[in-house]
């Protein structure tokens, strides 16, 4: 297959973006009436349109798809490295013994990839437990906590505990005057007075 290097770059590119950038991007794409909805409508699949980020039953799956989009490139590269570690002789020997391509894949390639797949599952699980940036930017853990993760929960709990303990609540609202002791709550996510670009 031609253009292998380019393909590899392309698949790995989402992994390199910061999670924040990816989150902002997908937040825009998934807006009601936004690009994705328009695309679905253009394809005649208008019936599939949902509130991707505003429905409590759907939001977690939206986050899941975005996280997969972001990290699958790394999984592919890992598997690639694993595939390159399988001596081609194994597959050739099986082929000579009359195994069909499907049998070769199932009996040789997949088992040899076992450790790589295990590591990838392991990393995905760990990474999912640490999910914050994506969720925070796209949904703030909402709606109604439907997409809150350990870290967003920690963050909201800490900031509300802190605001009730030390600071008058007004400080937290989207006030335009930043004070140094201000705990950065969702204030960073709500529009303060727009600074001149």
């Amino acid at each position: 297959v031609r253009g292998r290097t380019f393909l590899r770059l392309a698949v790995f590119a989402p992994f390199v973006l910061s999670e924040a950038t990816a989150a902002v991007m997908w937040y825009e794409l998934l807006q009601p009436g936004g690009p994705l909805d328009a695309l679905l409508r253009a394809l005649g699949l208008g019936g599939l349109i949902h509130y991707w980020l505003a429905s409590t039953s759907l939001v977690l799956y939206s986050v899941f798809v975005v996280a997969t989009w972001k990290y699958i490139g790394f999984g592919i590269v890992l598997l690639l490295a694993g595939l390159q570690g399988i001596p081609p002789e194994l597959r050739e020997a099986a082929a000579i013994d009359g195994a069909s391509p499907w049998q070769v894949t199932r009996a040789i390639t997949l088992p040899s990839l076992g450790p790589t797949i295990r590591i990838w599952i392991f990393l995905s699980v760990i990474g999912s437990f640490q999910l914050f940036d994506l969720v925070w930017i796209m949904t703030l853990g909402g709606p109604a906590n439907a997409s809150s993760t350990i870290l967003t929960y920690q963050y909201t709990t800490a900031s509300s505990a802190r605001s009730s303990a030390t600071a008058p609540r007004s400080r937290w609202s989207c006030s335009s005057s930043p004070s140094s002791s201000r705990w950065p709550t969702s204030a960073t996510r709500c529009a303060a007075t727009p600074p001149a670009p």
């Binding site: 790995f12 973006l17 910061s18 082929a95 870290l151 996510r189 670009p197």
Partner: protein, 293 residues
Amino acid sequence: MSTASAWLPRRSPRRDVIRERRTWLSLPASYLVILLVLAITIAPMLYMIVGGFSSTAQLNANPNALPHPWVWSNYAAIATSSIFWQAVANSAVVAVVATGLAVTLGSMAAFALSRYTFRGREAFYLLFVAGLLFPLNTAALPLFLLLQQIGLNDNLFGVALPEAAFALPVTIVILRPFMRAIPGELEDAAIVDGATRIRFFLRILLPLSRPALITVGILAFVTSWNAYLLPLVVFSSQDHYTLPLAVANFQSTYTQDTARVYAFTAVSMIPALAIFIFAQRRLVGGLVGAIRG
């Protein structure tokens, strides 16, 4: 042979003949799969870039039309805005300080842990390995309290120092085996020639470890460049925002001006993608190596 194996470097033309015949996915079919994967990974990013050339009115009328006419003002506004350049500068300062510290301290620790024999060496090493299990994000809130006490809150160093500290485990875990593999005869020879251990470290070990140093350096740099939670907690004034923070903030500030948000998002991808293309081989190799090592 799966589609993925179509990406393997070819070994020899003769072998290719055998492989090509043993595929259960025909060549056109694998091209189709590849195109599909490409569309899914690249399309959103391309959409952002092209969308940035539209005006918000155009986007509201039809989100999926090509810009007509192409508008440059969004990108021009960002290229001349202080928000973007300030954020890039902040990100760069934080990432450079964090990387410099992590590589300097990490190589020194890895040197001690690989070339000295002392009681409790393995225990120290395990301590660093255990650091891998403790990600920066989970520590962000306690760190915030600590930084507030030592007055580093809302300070670029308040982010750079913890990032360096949390980059140390990976650095050491990658560097130690590498330094260990450098033959002891080299050290003996250097010492016979009258070099001190420090001199051996600076003049021989470090130059020999360059590939590994570059790898850990890139890893630390990229991690720091992409960090969001710690900067979010530590920085309260917008002058200090790093690029990820600036992007998120820009998006929530200009919610209504979609085209401008697209343009800003597209532009903010450039540094990361540039680093990636520049360091592709090392980055991918380093990540995969770090996982398997």
